[in-house]
Symmetry: D2
Subunit: 142 residues, 4 copies
């Protein structure tokens, strides 16, 4: 595993927050949000962060870059229920020449529900590994 970030359980350790309301379509027969539904939440939060940094993902892709997920790790601490507003806190780090990582904390009214880490590569239009764009490197290197 390349994953090296340790997602803190304190929202104050994160740089950005994005809110998502859970959907009924995302529940399962246990009556809570299915564990696979968290991945689109993380992705939505990540792309909202890119937008906030001035780089909407549609533009990034039109410029010929993709940032595919190379690894993902999620710890589910307490279930998410239907119709809850989830705060997804995130920050980026662990930058290498061709990869970067994001750490996530999911809370509902302050209560920790899950933590996660995603590791991303960077590929060009031909699917070849590419150097990270400078705006990611600059923001994510502390």
């Amino acid at each position: 595993m390349r994953q090296s970030l340790q997602p803190s359980r304190d929202p104050a350790d994160y740089r950005f927050v994005h809110r998502v309301r859970t959907r009924f379509a995302e529940t399962d027969a246990m009556g809570v949000i299915h564990h696979a539904a968290y991945l689109p939440y993380l992705e939505e939060a990540r792309l909202a962060y890119f937008r906030e940094l001035g780089h909407p993902y549609g533009e990034v892709r039109r410029d010929g870059l993709e940032a595919p997920v190379l690894e993902i790790a999620v710890q589910y601490r307490r279930p998410l229920d239907f119709d809850e507003e989830v705060e997804i806190h995130l920050w980026g780090g662990a930058v290498t020449r061709t990869t970067f990582q994001l750490a996530y904390l999911l809370t509902v009214t302050g209560e920790v529900r899950a933590t996660a880490v995603t590791v991303h590569g960077c590929i060009d239009v031909n699917g070849k590994a590419s150097r990270l764009p400078s705006w990611i490197a600059e923001v994510f290197i502390e």
Copy 2:
């Protein structure tokens, strides 16, 4: 609505059958399969039918054609449960120069669960409406 096929409730009226086992991830908090999960079942059955006709959808797309869904209508008659094996019966018809339709019947051990109709167009690599490929026209015109 362009939709004109009437999906029969008798499996004998259909030309092809494809089996899908329902997934736990597709259940919702009502304890049954969520209504949105039926659309990927219909699509999987439709593309299995194309494969059986000698035209795997990957090849169709590499040849520069797509068959997007223009309309969909589903009648949910009895819920699908987790871990059921669903028989999806289907047949095509109502061909025009640029559209075709498919009718579907979903059964579990002979019991009717849902019926559906999809209407499809045909577009080329530039997103322009295109004539149907002859293999669809030939098979679907009675």
Copy 3:
């Protein structure tokens, strides 16, 4: 088909609007939002409308009622792209003693993308058909 509402293409004909931003996870290999992803959008809009009417769906369910989808019909007029903000306009009608319908218009910056109708029943905790709650009947009967 019980479906009888005719969804207008004029937003002024609707009573409520809910906004959804399309997710990357909802795109498909055609580069646009997959047709199955629209159903959770409609559901989210419908439940936002119930919340606005003072009846969050979580409470409705705790009171022992469900409003399962009996029929759905969608007309896809122009694709939705990734990262678009979709306005989902809706209104309810065609109330019977045990069913009601909703009509939907999906627009992006005023441009029509899709229309849809859902037909709902009402069931109690034992899965038996139940009379509609009065708040639905009152609002949806013109």
Copy 4:
């Protein structure tokens, strides 16, 4: 992280294999299977394994037990394409009194595409942590 299994890249190290054909609905705008779609594949393989062990998950749940996912980790090594038949190899281990783990290897015609680990708890009908059923403990303890 409780996750301790190391998923080998050699199919011979696994005890069970389950096949899944990728769906068009699971592709994304990069033209490959979206990373979130792998989680339902893992779940389907896991529940097929339980069925093979004589314990269909529907029965397990009727007996009052659930095995929720506490942690998940996936390494995406090469993309999955539309319409590929994926072999999901798996084995269980790392049993404690209340948790167990599964390791997964995803291959297509022998080529490694992804590896994964899931950590599961066991809860009873009241949502309380419960001891593992003996059939899991017996099979997973080497």
